[in-house]
Symmetry: C2
Subunit: 128 residues, 2 copies
């Protein structure tokens, strides 16, 4: 029984690893070559793109961090890259000057909408 459960759980883990690696590698390659976006960069755009009907609305760094599996420092640098690329803007929060609000720029929304179909099709290919 135990031995069987072990085998099951090991196989399950192998399968999870296989799906994760093949899918995220292809996502990374496709997003990078077609849209110049890394995977974690796209994921930030995805969160911002979903959270906001239009461009102006914002999310705090902490809130975004909670929606990804990135560390706080990794998110900070990812946002820095997006900001340098002009896809995202940081804006200080009036009520808590520690916090940063984040918003898609028009260019960011455009890039996101270009990249989203690529993202979707890779997911469908591997998980559909």
């Amino acid at each position: 029984m135990e031995a069987e459960a072990d085998v099951d759980v090991c196989d399950k883990w192998s399968e999870t690893l296989r799906v994760y690696h093949t899918t995220s590698c292809e996502l990374e390659n496709e997003l990078q070559s077609r849209h110049g976006l890394g995977l974690s960069e796209f994921e930030v755009l995805l969160i911002l793109g979903r959270a906001t009907g239009e461009c102006g609305v914002k999310a705090r760094m902490k809130d975004i961090e909670a929606e990804t599996h990135l560390s706080q420092s990794a998110l900070s640098r990812t946002v820095t890259r997006l900001e340098k690329a002009g896809l995202v803007a940081r804006a200080a929060c009036e009520f808590d000057r520690r916090a940063n609000f984040l918003a898609l720029t028009p260019a960011g929304r455009e890039r996101f909408e270009q990249a989203a179909p690529t993202h979707r099709s890779v997911l469908l290919k591997h998980l559909g």
Copy 2:
């Protein structure tokens, strides 16, 4: 239909990411703190430990590479680390001097057998 499939596939991916990240983070932490092994190091030990009844038997780098999701260079360095730790030994192949045979040392087998229950219990906790 399409919209639904998209949502399904996105949720499925989120869930895969969640399982992958939580499990591999805890695996990494537990293996590192309890046994001084990184995740990819343990995975190499696992392959060697499974492939061989006793210590002497070997596997080629290329064959191991095919069983992991590591790149060739990452595997090469992982094996270098294991070798420096005395857990694994490289041995030239007589018939093809390009190839390296790899074998667990006795210390490597011991470490693997100590670490395997940790690995198993983390997997059971998250996937069982």
